[in-house]
Symmetry: C2
Subunit: 386 residues, 2 copies
Amino acid sequence: VTTSSRNLLLTPGPTPVPPAVAAAAAAPIPHHRSAEFRETFERVLASLRRVYRTDNDVVLYAASGTAAFESAYANLLSPGDRVLVATAGNFGDRWVKMAEAFGAEVEVLRFGWGTRPDPAAIAERVVGRADLAVAVVVHSETSTGSLLDLESVARLSSDRSAVLVVDAISSLGAAPLETDAWGLDVVVTGSQKALMCPPGLAFASVSARALERSRSARTPRFSLDWARAIDAQRKGQSPFTPPISLIAQLDVALAMIEADGLQARFARTRAMGAGLRAATRALGLELYSPDDPACSLVTAIAWPAAIDGEAIRRRLRSEHGITAAGGQGEAKGRIIRFGAFGAIEAQDLVAGIAALEIELVQAGHVVELGTGVGAFLRAYVEAESR
Amino acid sequence: VTTSSRNLLLTPGPTPVPPAVAAAAAAPIPHHRSAEFRETFERVLASLRRVYRTDNDVVLYAASGTAAFESAYANLLSPGDRVLVATAGNFGDRWVKMAEAFGAEVEVLRFGWGTRPDPAAIAERVVGRADLAVAVVVHSETSTGSLLDLESVARLSSDRSAVLVVDAISSLGAAPLETDAWGLDVVVTGSQKALMCPPGLAFASVSARALERSRSARTPRFSLDWARAIDAQRKGQSPFTPPISLIAQLDVALAMIEADGLQARFARTRAMGAGLRAATRALGLELYSPDDPACSLVTAIAWPAAIDGEAIRRRLRSEHGITAAGGQGEAKGRIIRFGAFGAIEAQDLVAGIAALEIELVQAGHVVELGTGVGAFLRAYVEAESR
């Protein structure tokens, strides 16, 4: 095998940046108070609302997804407020730690890593709870590949006083999410996932109820303050100097996403996920992510006990130019994760599976070369044609 | 005059992005946990420390300069702590508002807009004050063009218990600033000023004293937390997904800055400032920024009463492709501001002054064309040759 000079990201974020989006970053930057930038900014905000499926304000931050998520705690909480976090992995755990850092009384509802949380169990902890200020759920738990049935959570907990905050950092634009139809109060996402941009932008949609609650929340905040950002954005402005070049890239990426259509993108992700699960089985490997068509955004594969998986993952990078993600937290060293959204397409995953097969065989795993790729293609084409 | 299709930024931020820095944004992005990115990240952090003239940690944020500044309050304050803010313009006023948002007891030391703050007056309010938690000064007040004699402030207030926080957002890399030699505790800057990058990255250096104080500060914070970021950065990592493409750009820009040399850049800014002040006088206009060689980063020119300055500024943009800044706050509509740092060079300012002359004459201001440009060139060359 000759060493590849490629650099193919098959990670569930950052995802590959399409050439047209990359090129947009190199254009001369306009001043952020110019009419030219204002036009771009307003177009981006309008497009974001369509992708979010909302008429709510979507606040744009120069920030990591983590900081945009933090805006929910910073704007909604006063010291001692009660927060429920439903967690089934590393990112849910991060929101628990963050809630503790904000001085909240935190209730943690844990689900097993690699399992899908039970919507009824979440709703049960939310409905009829006047004492609960905020309920946090993770839509796509990127660390395990588990996708929450968010629609059911929202429906079953519609009779709540808590503000529902959704970590959709790696799901928005990759899986169905209806901010308004499902009554989601705060939905957070980032630029470097399904939105096909480099990291550095992140977003939070804010419902009327969330905005109302923020007016009495006493946590100090300034740059994350929703009211300040929304006031500026409604005038086509950003409250502070915005990341002009990243916004120019997002403008191009959102146009591509809208031209493609959200439904087409969701279907592609589901077909790629079906292919990855079929390849896993055909290669005699075990899924770590749930074996469920809904959980197609991230496919996590468990390494067999006899295989040094981290060595294979390093060789995918060094010999094949392919970056896949490893495990985090309790799954560290035990799994490999492939993303199937953003600009990642079937041919990229074919390259990834082919490289994985080569390395598995060299590591002594008994399988006929082509088995995984063949299974991927059959399942993918079948799912696509449905 | 034919209309220009140029887009020349002569604003004191964002400043123009050099082509090599622009091109770096379009390269494929590596994963942020890859060895390749780690190498870039560590190189950038080391270079930042050299430009900052410090051995302290310099925390890198995916953020506006405002949010990086906010990290000082978030990490240093507990509710009710006393903060002194010395302000002589719009940005100083922002740090007053922000301190209030953080529940601090705020003391405001005001200096006139367009004047240079008196270092002794600041030191007098800081020295021997055991009750003062934080003292805030603005190095370059971008809204007026006033540069603080920061060295004197630091020297005169060296016997202080307060943590000294410096807004160097538009000055670091454009004017002398010795973080360690002057004993500056926290120095904040942004990517889109002297560092020649698009906006979206911002930085805060943290002295041992500041870090120590942050351990007992009770303001809730997570993404802005210094200790978390420093722990990660010392391992060559970022605590959250970093803005990979912007960091790749910063890597190129910092190499350019270091190849040029800080002293050469400071000298160029001083020469360009001398040129702009000479042009102002030659054109029969009045300076709004201080008439002082130290105040060369931003030159603010007051519009004559008979001239509709905002109309001229619009025409600079529409007819000449040149963006200059207007006034903010109490100077709104009254001044025009030119930046003279970052990638802005003398030939850019020559273009700016030439366009300004054309528009002044068309608006009825009596001056012979070429007067301003000639004065600029003579003062610039004289200052350069010193």
